[in-house]
């Protein structure tokens, strides 16, 4: 049947694309592992550059331990908390600053100051102010908030003046103008900002964990690896961070896509 033919072709096309995507990604991974291995052979000392096989083996040893998951869980909670608070603060203060010049004048210098201050200064300050569990959350918030805030302000300012004029003529209420014009305009900027912030969030949270050394956390393990000059362990935990960061980015993109399609279906016409 013709219809079946079209459906069948489209399913096969999708499967082909999926398989091709996986194979090409695996090939890229293999390429970089070969480069890593070549550097390992060239350097010739495990202390400086461990072999990818040793790191892989250590990773396998780690993932079967219950404590590994406890450490990872604690880091995930800290990063998630830091990014979520940044998203909320960035959204609320970003919208307020974009729509109100006085709020912008107050918040902008603070954001600029945070942006240029070295993260270590904040970490040391946070070590004095907060307990070791809260330091990574606070640092994550401080580093992620400016990115999201800047994107939200930029996004709101991109609003199409012709649409606002149309809304004015048609006497569209302010809440509707905000939710139907401002928010959708700002949305892609907010999403891009959140994705960038998430990547940075992992980096700075783990850095803060290394210095604040909480009881559980990936950073604490990296600090221990440094103390025992265990480069293999250091690489293994670093690989965990990279994988988690990528996984979270993918999850976030998926989540935001789902929320977009939910908004789209809500907008469906039912007449």
């Amino acid at each position: 049947m013709k219809t079946f033919g079209i459906v069948g072709r489209s399913i096969f096309g999708k499967i082909n694309r999926l398989v091709f995507g996986i194979i090409s990604k695996l090939l890229v991974l293999v390429f970089w592992i070969i480069i890593w291995y070549a550097i390992y052979v060239l350097v010739g000392r495990e202390l400086y550059v461990p072999s990818p096989f040793a790191v892989g083996e250590r990773l396998l040893e780690l993932v079967v331990l219950e404590t590994f998951w406890v450490e990872v869980f604690h880091s995930i909670v800290r990063v998630t908390a830091g990014v979520i608070i940044s998203m909320l603060a960035g959204l609320v203060l970003g919208v307020a600053a974009a729509l109100n010049k006085a709020i912008y004048a107050i918040v902008e210098p603070m954001v600029s100051a945070i942006r240029v201050t070295p993260v270590l200064s904040f970490i040391i300050l946070a070590l004095i102010w907060l307990n070791s569990n809260m330091v990574p959350v606070f640092i994550c918030l401080l580093m992620c908030f400016p990115i999201i805030w800047t994107n939200v302000v930029g996004g709101i300012r991109q609003v199409d003046m012709q649409l606002l004029e149309m809304a004015k003529v048609y006497q569209v209420t302010k809440p509707k103008v905000f939710s139907k014009i401002y928010l959708p305009t700002m949305r892609p900027y907010f999403v891009a900002g959140t994705i960038s912030a998430l990547g940075l969030g992992w980096k700075v949270s783990v850095a803060a964990e290394i210095l604040s050394y909480p009881r559980y956390g990936i950073g604490s393990n990296i600090y221990s690896a440094k103390a025992y000059i265990d480069t293999v362990e250091l690489f293994a935990w670093t690989a965990v961070i990279i994988m988690l960061s990528m996984l979270f980015e993918k999850l976030l993109v998926k989540l935001l896509k789902t929320s977009k399609s939910a908004a789209g279906s809500e907008a469906g016409f039912d007449a």
Partner: protein, 215 residues
């Protein structure tokens, strides 16, 4: 006596460029006025001043208090992230059933009933124009009765539409006119002007205005 809208000595400049000079006109309810003239002679500026989107440098508008202005812009001005139905829904108020009924009616009128859940980017230029026209007609229908009068302003509404659709819409606009409504139409098309006008106001770059009465 029916209320009239009186424009008195309206002038407007953008920097050194004079667009309108001492424009005066009287608009009466239940009539359609066609504004004719070359590009850049101030037609859209005049509409924007009437709609309250621009301020005149001098002159007065009398009688527009408590009037509903339903303005179809020269550009479609549709939300790209909202469906056709939601673009119309944005400007309406009322219960879901009332709003959906109005949307259905206007989409049937502009022959887009099957495109309610399409996004503007998926439509042709002519279809987007029809959505914009459907939106202004829905707004007029939904809110028009609550006020002293209604001013329907149409800035080149039938651009890119085929003759059959144009005729159908002109007929609808003419037959659905409320007795308290004033219609202002900007067009470059003689056929549209003659089919709709009670009075044609011709403007030119020399700020001369001539009037031609049609009955």
């Amino acid at each position: 006596m029916r209320p009239k809208i009186i424009l008195e000595g309206i002038s407007k400049s953008y920097g050194n460029l004079k667009v309108l000079q001492n424009f005066s006109a009287t608009f009466e309810q239940s009539k359609t006025y066609v504004i004719f003239g070359p590009s850049g002679c101030g037609k859209t500026t005049l509409l924007r001043i009437i709609a309250g989107l621009s301020n005149a440098d001098s002159g007065m508008i009398h009688g527009l208090e408590n009037w509903l202005i339903a303005y179809m812009f020269q550009e479609e001005r549709l939300l790209p992230w909202a469906t056709v139905a939601d673009n119309i829904r944005l400007v309406l108020t009322g219960t879901d059933t009332e709003v959906n009924d109005v949307i259905k009616r206007v989409l049937e009128l502009v022959d887009l009933i099957d495109f309610g859940d399409y996004y503007p980017a998926k439509l042709s230029g002519g279809m987007r124009r029809r959505v914009s026209l459907a939106r202004v007609l829905a707004y007029l229908e939904c809110k028009g009765d609550r006020l002293v009068g209604q001013m329907l302003i149409l800035d080149e509404p039938f651009k890119e539409l085929d003759l059959e659709m144009k005729q159908q819409l002109i007929e609808y606009i003419m037959t659905s006119r409320k007795p308290t409504q004033i219609t202002l139409l900007v067009t470059h098309d003689k056929y549209e002007a003659e089919a709709m006008a009670n009075e044609i106001i011709s403007m030119n770059h020399a700020y001369n205005i001539s009037r031609e009465i049609h009955m």
